[in-house]
């Protein structure tokens, strides 16, 4: 009786551990394999008996960069940076208003923003082409960034509002009692406290723009961003070039996410107990 209950107890622990391992392996293996294959020598990849490559080369990545990926990476970074600047310039004031003010229609407005976030933003790409042609924005990085901003804006508003709301109102009120006006209180108290969270939000905005492929592919022809470049150019290339492309695409996301890993979880409203 006692023995069997002990066995059951530890069996349960074992099952949990096994499940966790299975899940982690399932998620992580493709990452590792794709990275290994990106640097695998051609012979190792095509040899059926070598599962994990033995010989490594950076030739594929280099070849891809020479094919035009370098320019595409630069384009992607430019688009992402403009997107961050625009969406923060427009989104932070709105986020702050939602966090710190009580006003009529606040809930409906917030619901509207959330609703807009649900909107399938890729559908704007095709009609935007005609507008951009008229405005001379077609096939420009600014044009892509403008569209990406409309995708990132609701995210920035919602996240920044929760970050600002996380700064206790009393801190700002105390600053105002001790002689700062609202603007001063914002820049000297709220902003510094919100900065780490906002930096994380910027990182996620960057990744959002960096990863977006449909709008970028439709709106550009010669000034491709990296995903658009890969989608149109690299698909016809040999396998190992594709793996190199995958590696280049996930690398910055991985690095940034590692930097902001603390926020990767909290960004979604999860708190670990």
């Amino acid at each position: 009786m006692v023995e069997s209950s002990i066995v059951r107890y530890y069996l349960r622990k074992l099952v949990i551990a096994a499940l966790v391992i299975v899940v982690v392996v399932w998620v992580v293996t493709p990452f590792i394999i794709s990275m290994l294959y990106a640097f695998s020598s051609k012979d190792d990849y095509y040899s059926p008996n070598i599962i994990i490559p033995i010989h490594y080369t950076i030739q594929h990545v280099k070849m891809l960069l020479d094919l035009g990926a370098t320019q595409a990476i630069i384009n992607s970074v430019i688009v992402a940076v403009i997107t961050i600047l625009l969406s923060f310039a427009l989104g932070l004031p709105a986020g702050y208003a939602f966090a710190k003010f009580a006003f009529k229609g606040k809930d409906s407005l917030k619901l509207l923003i959330i609703g807009l976030r649900m909107f399938p933003i890729l559908v704007i790409a095709v009609p935007l082409v005609t507008l951009y042609i008229r405005l001379g924005l077609n096939d420009t990085l600014l044009g892509v960034a403008l569209a990406h901003t409309s995708m990132a804006l609701p995210f920035v508003i919602i996240i920044s509002s929760s970050i600002f709301a996380g700064v206790p109102k009393e801190l700002e009120e105390a600053a105002m009692i001790f002689g700062l006006d609202r603007k001063g209180a914002f820049f000297r108290i709220t902003m510094p406290l919100a900065l780490p969270g906002l930096a994380a939000a910027a990182i996620f905005t960057f990744i959002m723009s960096w990863n977006e492929v449909f709008i970028a592919s439709v709106l550009t022809l010669t000034h491709r961003t990296l995903p658009a470049f890969i989608l149109t150019s690299a698909m016809a290339a040999p396998d190992f070039i594709k793996f190199a492309a995958g590696f280049i695409m996930i690398l910055p996301a991985m690095i940034f996410v590692f930097i902001a890993r603390k926020y990767l979880i909290t960004m979604w409203g999860i708190t670990l107990k």
């Binding site: 009786m1 006692v2 209950s5 107890y9």
Partner: protein
């Protein structure tokens, strides 16, 4: 209904030890209270009994059944949670019926029992409501009804009254106690409130730092605290403590606190003999110190001390004096309303039959030690 035995329970969370070797025998049908400050391990102990936590060491026995590793559902326990844990998506009726449904009682039996429990707790008219339509006190009753409806072997309560307002708490205290007498279920009740513990418990187990400090009837805990912690934790205002040196001359025992001397009766000789010349901790409750003219006629052995009034708390029913005796403050509780001028001199008597002496090192009560030695 069943007796419960805890044998050497140890529970660690990472590096912190929440429960550090607890032994406790709880009798069948008894109402026992685990009393202690927050973080003393009382809730963890309760959760170990419930089966929600597995101890790292030790055994939990229900009767002679070892339940240490059994999941809660195989223990036939019930619990009232501090947060009540009333499921928000179920009506009151379904909340109370849930334990019965899980145990596959027939429908009529479920209905009968739910109505019985609801009536007992006077919530019959609430059965059709959702939890969010209830007040805090009503939710508390639902939680209790749900806990007793299965007729558990052991009823566990984790600070069930701490979320109620003061008036309701007093009312529920007596109601819960009466309810427990009626259904005679072995009850383990966790609280940090000494008044709850004193009024409700058949016995109290005072806990601190993961260990049981003393187990006993409420009056035992109050009159004969086992150590400085128990003495200080039970009773308001807190017991006065001061260091004193023991001097035994001929037949006389003198406790020399720097500000004053206390001449103890000879009864203390066997206890204090070996402490001659050493320092002990002396404790006396504020209600056992009487200003001139307030000493009850029953108090025979008194020792007088003079001090200056430092501060007065007028509570209406009681008056609390803070007396400065030179280098320390004696707190004195006088029943009734009295006026004292701050700065005035007052003579007070220590009731020597209610004095406590503790070992300076181990903080254990010398009187209690002797008692246990006699047993």
């Amino acid at each position: 209904m069943v007796d419960v035995h805890l044998k050497g329970i140890v529970k660690r969370f990472g590096k912190t030890i929440a429960v550090n070797g607890i032994n406790l025998d709880i009798r069948d049908g008894e109402f026992i209270v685990l009393l202690g400050p927050s973080g003393c391990g009382k809730t963890t102990t309760l959760r170990v009994i419930a089966g929600l936590e597995k101890p790292d060491e030790g055994r939990v026995l229900f009767g002679d059944r070892d339940v240490t590793y059994l999941p809660p559902r195989e223990r036939n326990v019930s619990m009232v949670f501090q947060s009540y844990a009333i499921w928000p998506h179920m009506k009151v009726y379904d909340n109370i019926a849930f334990p019965l449904k899980i145990k596959k009682f027939p429908k009529e039996e479920i209905d009968k029992r739910v109505k019985w429990a609801a009536e007992l707790l006077q919530i019959s008219e609430l059965l059709d409501r959702y939890p969010h339509q209830l007040s805090g006190g009503q939710r508390q009753r639902v939680a209790v009804a749900r806990a007793i409806v299965v007729e558990p072997d052991v009823l566990l309560m984790d600070e069930p009254l701490s979320n109620l307002d003061a008036l309701l708490r007093v009312k529920m205290r007596s109601e819960l106690k009466k309810l427990q007498r009626r259904i005679k279920v072995t009850t383990i009740y966790v609280t940090h409130d000494q008044v709850e513990a004193m009024t409700m418990g058949d016995r109290i187990a005072v806990m601190n730092k993961g260990k049981i400090q003393q187990v006993g009837r409420p009056d035992e805990i109050y009159l004969r605290p086992a150590n400085v912690f128990v003495a200080g934790f039970v009773g308001t205002p807190q017991m006065n403590f001061f260091d004193a040196t023991v001097e035994i001359k001929d037949d006389e025992i003198i406790l020399d606190a720097s500000d004053f001397k206390v001449r103890l009766p000879k009864d203390y000789l066997p206890v204090l003999q070996e402490y001659n010349g050493k320092t002990v901790i002396v404790g006396i409750r504020p209600e056992h110190i009487y200003p001139e003219g307030h000493a009850p006629t029953t108090a025979k052995k008194l020792s007088w001390v003079e001090g200056t009034v430092d501060f007065v708390e007028a509570l209406g029913s009681d008056t609390i004096l803070h007396l400065n005796t030179g280098s320390m403050i004696l707190v004195v509780k006088i029943s009734g309303s009295h006026r004292y001028e701050i700065g005035s001199k007052v003579k007070v008597a220590l009731d020597l039959s209610n004095i406590h002496v503790f070992d300076k090192e181990s903080q254990v009560s010398l009187l209690y030690k002797r008692q246990r030695g006699v047993q």
